[in-house]
Each structure stands twice: as structure tokens, then as C-alpha cells.
């Protein structure tokens, strides 16, 4: 959690000259997100987030990300709305980086969501999927199942440094998932990273979804599988079936799951666990000690992956 690119007041003033949002009152770098530099900006007109996109977010992808937020916000989804400049631009350049100004959402993310929060977040995901249905732009899932083999090859030679048996777990999971990955499930725009960090709550209800910088086109049920991993395990690694039951049921009330989607859940959940295991492992093995971010523990996800590989039926998720 850090700010990578510093923006001075003087640079901010130059930037704001292109926007019709009043005069600045407060401007603070905030420790949020591992990919970008974010500033909280309060002006006479309201509260905003100024984001400078660091290297992991490609400028080419910004029309997709920012366009998606405009599209979703116009359909009633509580997500940050890009503020366009006077000339109509969605993004600009600041401190040598692509930058965008977004509306600020009130609310707090939970570290230990309860089952009722899982239900509220599941319903919010289904609403986002419905609202994203007719979004015109497309973005493939670079971290989808076709991308895992390459990441795995980069990690396997040193995987044992992190956990005994990890190289074998990754190799065998890759093979199993390649044979069993479902085809033909309903697709659409997915968030792809809807962890508790990225869902804001006020008074127990969802007040906003944030951080859409992994959003892409993929199987909608895969998004639910990401949430099964991120929301339904306790800190001692135990799976909480009440939470998953709540999550899935609330989602399905808004967008019913097909029989094929239900059957596919164990494979999708194992795939999602492998995806986060691989990226965390890669970041751990290639961690720059000078970096301002501490890498997350990949072993949380090797445990989840082992759990999902033992699941024999979607009933084990409370379906």
C-alpha cells in the first residue's frame, strides 16, 4: 500500500485547470491498491479519487476500464464514475503517467465479512453482471485459464522455496483444469477481483464496488468462483459453507445459475484459486526488496486450491 508517483500541489493545480470541479481543499496520497498511485481530493464541488496508472495498467486498456465504469454507473451500479475534462477526455497524463479523476464513494471495506455481507456482495455482483451485459468494448482475461500455463512455467522451478509440494500441486492442477475446464458457459464483463477490499459497505449494505482494473470478458460464474475463494474462507483456512451458501443464493436470486454453471463451480473455484496462487507466487519470487509493497502469502491460495480439488459436488458449496 503506497503512493509511487508524487503529485505536488502545483501539478494538481495545473491538472485541475482542465476540469470543472471547483478549487481544491484537501489532497492526500492514499495507501490503497497495489498497482496505482491514488490521491484523495476534496474540492468545493465534492470528493474525488485521482488515480495515476503505474506500469501494470496499460494505457491501451483505459478506454475499457473507464468506459465500463461510465456504462455501469449509468445503469445504477454504485461504482466510481470517471469525471471528464472540459474537453471531454476520460483520462489525461500527469507526472508522466496516464491519470484519471473519479468520483469518490463513501463506505468501508470489511476485513472479516459475515454471512450477511457475503449475501449483499453476491447480489451486487449479479447486478453488475446484468448491467455490464450490453457494454460494447471487449477485453480478454489475461489472467484467465489460457494464461496460467505460462505463469506456472515461470514459477514452478522455484515453487518449493515457498512451500513443499507446491510445484507438484501446480503442475497437476494445471493438467486437471485443462481437461475439465467448462466450455460454453454464459459470458460477459466480469470484475475478476471482487475481494472484500473492493466492496464498500455502509450500515451492512453495499455502498460501492471499486477497483475494476482486472475487469475483462469471461464466464460470469468464474467471477462467483473468485468470490467463493475471497469471501468464504476463515483466517484459519477453514471453508465456511454458510457464507458460500449465502453468497451463491443471493447471486442466483438476481441471475439464476444454469445447471452447467452449478456443475462447473468446483472446477471454476479451483481455477480461481490457482490464478491467485500463481500471481502471488510470481510476485513473491520476483519481489523487489526496494518495492513499497509487501507481497501477499501465496500459501493462502494453495490451501484453497487443495480444498476445491477435493470437492466432489457443488452441494459442498451449499447449493
Amino acid at each position: 500500500m503506497a503512493v509511487y508517483t508524487e503529485v505536488s500541489f502545483e501539478e494538481l493545480e495545473g491538472f485541475l485547470a482542465d476540469y470543472d470541479i471547483g478549487v481544491p481543499r484537501t489532497f492526500k496520497g492514499i495507501a490503497e491498491g497495489v498497482e496505482n498511485s491514488n490521491y484523495y481530493l476534496q474540492t468545493s464541488a465534492g470528493s474525488f479519487i485521482l488515480t495515476l496508472y503505474e506500469k501494470r495498467v496499460r494505457a491501451d486498456d483505459l478506454p475499457f476500464f473507464l468506459g465500463l465504469l461510465e456504462h455501469l454507473a449509468a445503469r445504477g451500479i454504485a461504482c466510481p464514475l470517471p469525471v471528464r475534462s472540459r474537453s471531454g477526455a476520460q483520462s489525461t497524463i500527469l507526472g508522466g503517467r496516464p491519470a484519471a479523476l473519479l468520483t469518490f464513494l463513501d463506505g468501508l471495506s470489511l476485513r472479516r465479512p459475515e454471512a450477511t455481507h457475503c449475501a449483499a456482495a453476491g447480489a451486487a455482483l449479479a447486478e453488475m453482471h446484468a448491467a455490464g451485459k450490453d457494454f460494447a468494448l471487449k477485453r480478454p482475461n489475461a489472467l484467465g485459464h489460457n494464461g496460467w500455463r505460462e505463469l506456472a512455467q515461470a514459477c514452478i522451478p522455484r515453487a518449493e522455496e515457498v512451500e513443499k509440494g507446491l510445484a507438484e500441486l501446480i503442475a497437476s492442477s494445471l493438467g486437471q483444469l485443462a481437461s475439465n475446464w467448462p466450455d460454453g458457459l454464459p459470458e460477459g464483463v466480469i470484475h475478476a477481483d471482487l475481494f472484500p477490499d473492493n466492496v464498500l459497505f455502509i450500515d451492512g449494505g453495499v455502498s460501492g464496488l471499486i477497483d475494476f482494473y482486472f475487469a475483462c470478458n469471461d464466464a460470469l460464474a468464474y467471477d462467483l468462483a473468485v468470490m467463493l475463494n475471497a469471501w468464504c474462507f476463515e483466517s484459519d483456512a477453514a471453508f465456511n459453507v454458510t457464507k458460500s451458501k449465502n453468497l451463491i443464493a443471493a447471486y442466483a436470486r438476481k441471475r439464476p445459475l444454469s445447471a452447467a454453471e452449478r456443475e462447473a463451480l468446483p472446477v471454476l473455484a479451483a481455477g480461481a484459486a490457482l490464478r491467485f496462487l500463481l500471481t502471488r507466487l510470481y510476485d513473491r519470487l520476483n519481489h523487489d526488496p526496494q518495492a513499497l509493497v509487501r507481497p501477499k502469502d501465496p500459501r493462502e491460495y494453495s490451501k484453497r486450491l487443495r480444498f476445491h480439488r477435493k470437492v466432489r459436488s457443488p452441494a459442498e458449496y451449499g447449493l
Copy 2:
């Protein structure tokens, strides 16, 4: 700039139960200060900063720092005001650290203050000195001239790694300052770190002074000497006499400087430059590459120190 200790929403809720400041709406770690973890908190009752004191701030010193802020705020100084808990406590423990809740001040700090800003900041310093006059608690200046020799001894053996000639510069400056350090100047509570980062502006006027965690008792004119270093050099290291003239004149209009204080300015300014040179050098030589903060460049202050050592008369500061 980083957050060292993470506070979850659940921990925040437990903490806020002891305070009468409404329900939380927004809670964000902010990238501010190199010593502490700071969170921006907005509740139904207003905006606050929650500070967790990391190792460099001693819990024993909190009554001085927090008591000083209460004292100054009661006398009209725009500084953060500690919010007392329902039971009247000024500080508490959160995440295993001493923690305090302070009012949030609007305003922005400037990276490149102009001469008019120097004048406004100088006047604000004099007002702070006047308001601090009758503050009952005392705290010696651990980084005052009596503390430099020890720091220097820790740094000199490796000083040449950072800059050629630095060991000699430090050793000879120490000797010269020890012989010439002024006695008997007016003393009081000083901020001791009033860099542009720590002065907030709105519409060109000072809206607040922040970060009092080096505050202590010392010669008042030494505080002005710190500001001469921090506000009056350009990014190319050139001294800007218009800025120093503005700074000193605005200060002296609020608190006239005695002849002894004027005469002492070159020595005090050299001392202040040595103080920041030594702490930056120490931090650079002892930098933990895992740390979340990048050490500042000590060479900015070796240049300032060389400048002040050549000053023959306070007239060179525009007096």
C-alpha cells in the same frame, strides 16, 4: 510514505465505541509522515486523522505532543486538536500501538512555496511561538546541538560513501558550532520541523500547521533557522534571499528579534542544516531495504550547510 500498521474496519468500530463522533463513512490509510501510520476518517460528525504511533515516537512523549496541540488550539492556532475519548483519554492503544484521534485540517502543502507563502508561514511560526509561551510541559530537543556529536560519530566512518569530503565537513562544522553556539537566546516551545510539508494553505493563506512530533523546548530563533533551510533554497540549491527576507520580516513583525538573535542566525542556520544532514545521512546509511520509506537525500543539506558556513553577516539573509 506508507501505512505500517493496518487497522481493519472491525478494529475501527471497537475503537470508535469509546468516542462520541458518530458513525464512520470513510476510512483510508494515507501516505503521510515517515514516522507514523495515519488514517483519514470521515464520520457523520466530521473529518479526523487517526494516528498510530510507530516506534520513533515514544508513548512517554505523547502527553507533551497532544497536550501542546490542545494548548495551541485553545489559543487560536490552526493545528490538529486531539479528540478525547468518552472517558477523557487523550490517547489509547490500537493495533498494539499508542493511537490518537485528531481533528482533520483542510488545506494543501506546497512543494514550491513562493516568497508570499514564506511570509505567511513565518508569521504563523511567530504566532505559534507566542501561543506556546505558557505551556507547562517540557521536552528537551533530542536532536538539538548537544545531540549532534553522537549522531556524527555514528555517521562519519561511512560518510564518504555518500559524498566526497562529507566526513571533514561534518567534523569541522561540529567543532565550529560547538565554539560559536549562542547561549541565552529566548527559549520556548518550537516546532523544530516546520518544512513546507507541514504547513497547509488555502487560497494563499496558512490554514494549518501539522506534524508536531519533533516539538520541544529550544531557542525560538532556531525554529526560524530550520525554516530558512527548508523554505528558502531553490531546487537547484540556490539560496533565494527574497524568500528569506519575507520569512524573517513576517516573523519579526509578530515577534521582534533581539540583536543577539539576529547575530546568531548564521550559526543557527548552519546548525539546523547539520541536524538535517546528520539525520538524513544516518537514515541513508542505516536504511533497511525492506522499509516502506525511501530515505531523503542528505546532500541537499550538505550544500545548505556549506552555504551557511560562508555567511559572514545576517544581512546576507536579507535582514
